[in-house]
């Protein structure tokens, strides 16, 4: 019970801190805090999607960045065609409105996840890790090679996607949009993991052979989870594109997939809230280390190794939270 109380308090504190962040940034005269907060919220969304796989289904996907980047590129490419007045492959006109671009990003990422998942789920264990990595890297090479959309250099666009009543130039407003999306994703996933579907996923994670023996065709459920995680990553990618008004193959790079896995494990696998802490820890640690030295990765790498070797349940576990 003490744990439950502490968990509630931590959650309330986190919610207050996130809600009041722009005010805090203003008072402390640290305007960077708002963009850091936005980055945390976006990474947290993607990491929650990955936690559905790692923490709830037992699928260690190493290709999450592929869907994240794909969602970003959908927003970028639609904006590009809107600006040029042309159409994607001569058929799909450009778009700058969020209500078009964001669902499109979710849809495209979900479809890609469906296809890649259908192939990757033919294997399991280490092969699954390697294959998801390779397929995501395939998407990376695809965007590197598309010179029309900037190739290696990436693709910038002038303004964020339009949302009703919101000034696209207002960074604080965009922060709140991302925070709201994070809350919605958290709430929906919270419902999901307690539903019949969620229990099946948890069962698959614990003992897939047993699930087959009680009549479950696990592959369909794993594929559904993989597709859903891809869709969530696509949404996060769409927000990321809006944050920077720029997309590049870096979004799909395999190290980004690694970062997402780190966030999930760092925060606490299988807890949904954990990835939020993991994303915050990762973003803050990176930005803090980067202030000290340009060689911040020489510290980040060993920190990561130490965290994996020495801790078992992540930040959220250490705070006394569970599930």
């Amino acid at each position: 019970m003490a744990n439950l109380g502490r968990k509630r308090i931590m959650l309330a504190l986190l919610a207050m801190l996130l809600t009041g962040l722009p005010y805090l940034a203003d008072r402390l005269a640290m305007p960077d805090l708002v963009s850091l907060g936005t980055q945390i919220a976006i990474y947290a969304i993607a990491a929650i999607g990955l936690d559905l796989l790692i923490g709830y289904t037992g699928l260690s996907s190493f290709g999450h960045a592929g869907f994240f980047g794909l969602g970003g590129y959908v927003v970028g490419i639609l904006a590009f065609h809107a600006a040029e007045g042309t159409a994607f492959v001569g058929l799909v006109p450009g778009a700058t409105e969020a209500w078009v671009a964001w669902p499109a990003a979710i849809l495209v990422s979900a479809l890609a996840a469906l296809a890649i998942g259908a192939l990757s789920l033919r294997t399991s264990g280490v092969s699954f890790i390697m294959i998801t990595l390779a397929f995501a890297q395939m998407l990376f090479y695809l965007f590197v090679s598309l010179k029309t959309y900037g190739g290696d250099d990436g693709l910038g666009f002038r303004r964020r996607n339009g949302l009703p009543w919101i000034n696209p130039r207002d960074d604080v407003a965009f922060y709140y949009v991302c925070l709201l999306v994070l809350m919605i994703v958290l709430a929906l996933c919270h419902r999901l993991v307690r539903s019949r579907f969620g229990l099946v996923l948890l069962g698959i994670k614990q003992n897939e052979r047993r699930m087959a023996a009680i009549g479950l065709d696990a592959t369909r459920y794993k594929l559904a989870a993989f597709t859903l995680a891809g869709a969530i990553a696509g949404l996060a990618g769409a927000l990321q594109a809006n944050l920077l008004r720029f997309v590049s193959p870096d979004m799909l790079h395999w190290t980004t997939s690694g970062d997402f896995m780190v966030m999930v494990v760092l925060g606490g696998v299988g807890s949904l809230v954990g990835p939020v802490f993991g994303a915050a820890a990762m973003v803050l640690l990176q930005s803090w280390l980067a202030q000290w030295t340009e060689h911040w990765m020489i510290v980040m790498g060993p920190v990561l190794v130490a965290v994996i070797l020495l801790t078992r349940r992540g930040i959220w576990g250490a705070l006394g939270g569970r599930g």
Partner: protein, 248 residues
């Protein structure tokens, strides 16, 4: 009367080893049929083939007259054929109740339903509770499966298998690892089930086989060498030869 489970000419080869060689078996509805044999006779392979986990090289498996040889394990369960495992295989982080309730859920379909708290769904928990009572685990419903005693886990395993609504149960050594009292409890439990569900029992505990089995098949080197009542098998010279040196 046609057999509920009918197996003919089932063959499975692993490299040079014939794990199952022209294996044939008929289990009549409502009976408890024991499959015994020395270690390495291929009993586990046979269960794997019958449940659909292993694909045979040759032969046919019929359930209630319908050929199920090419059907995968989850689909066989839906047709009423369920196996249990020799090594206890429950969902360790779920409570006993959740372990059984998820079987009820899979049986009902609707596992893509994404809303509602499934743990509080009485359509699932009520039948699961009743099943736990039936196997004598009612008082342990809220205990995590990994915290149950070994004997209780075996009972839970049986409850899960029954909850699939199986007509035909394949029980792979349900007494494995049980103490004497626990074995007797499990024997009593299976005796109570007899008649309501057809059972193929693979078992090393000969006291249990003697107490329970209507018919006994003896498997040696992947092949059924003899079949009959327990007493007939005990008297059969070929069976005695096969078991020589084994504590039977």
């Amino acid at each position: 009367m046609i057999p509920l489970l009918e197996v003919s000419a089932l063959t499975k080869r692993y490299g040079g080893l014939l794990a199952c060689n022209d294996f044939a078996l008929s289990v009549m509805p409502g009976s408890l049929h024991a499959l015994i044999g020395p270690n390495g006779a291929g009993k586990s392979t046979a269960i794997g083939l019958l449940s659909g986990e292993i694909v045979p090289d040759l032969g046919h498996i019929r359930l209630d007259g319908a050929d199920i040889t090419k059907i995968a394990m989850p689909a066989r369960v839906k047709q009423g054929l369920t196996r249990s495992f020799q090594i206890t295989s429950v969902l360790p982080h779920f409570t006993a109740l959740e372990n059984v309730a998820i079987v009820a859920q899979i049986r009902a379909g609707h596992s893509f339903r994404c809303w509602g708290d499934a743990r509080r769904d009485r359509d699932l928990t009520d039948p699961a509770r009743a099943m736990l009572d039936r196997v004598g685990l009612g008082a342990r419903a809220m205990t995590r499966a990994e915290d149950l005693a070994h004997g209780e886990q075996r009972q839970l395993e049986l409850a899960m298998a029954l909850m699939t609504g199986a007509r035909m149960l394949l029980l792979d050594e349900p007494m494995a690892g049980l103490g004497q009292t626990e074995s007797q409890d499990m024997t009593a439990l299976l005796a109570a089930l007899k008649g309501s569900v057809t059972i193929l029992l693979v078992e090393h505990d000969m006291d249990a086989v003697e107490a329970l089995a209507d018919r006994v098949s003896v498997m040696v080197a992947g092949h059924v060498i003899a079949e009959g009542s327990f007493a007939e098998m005990r008297a059969d010279p070929a069976v005695r030869a096969a078991y020589l040196g084994e504590a039977a």
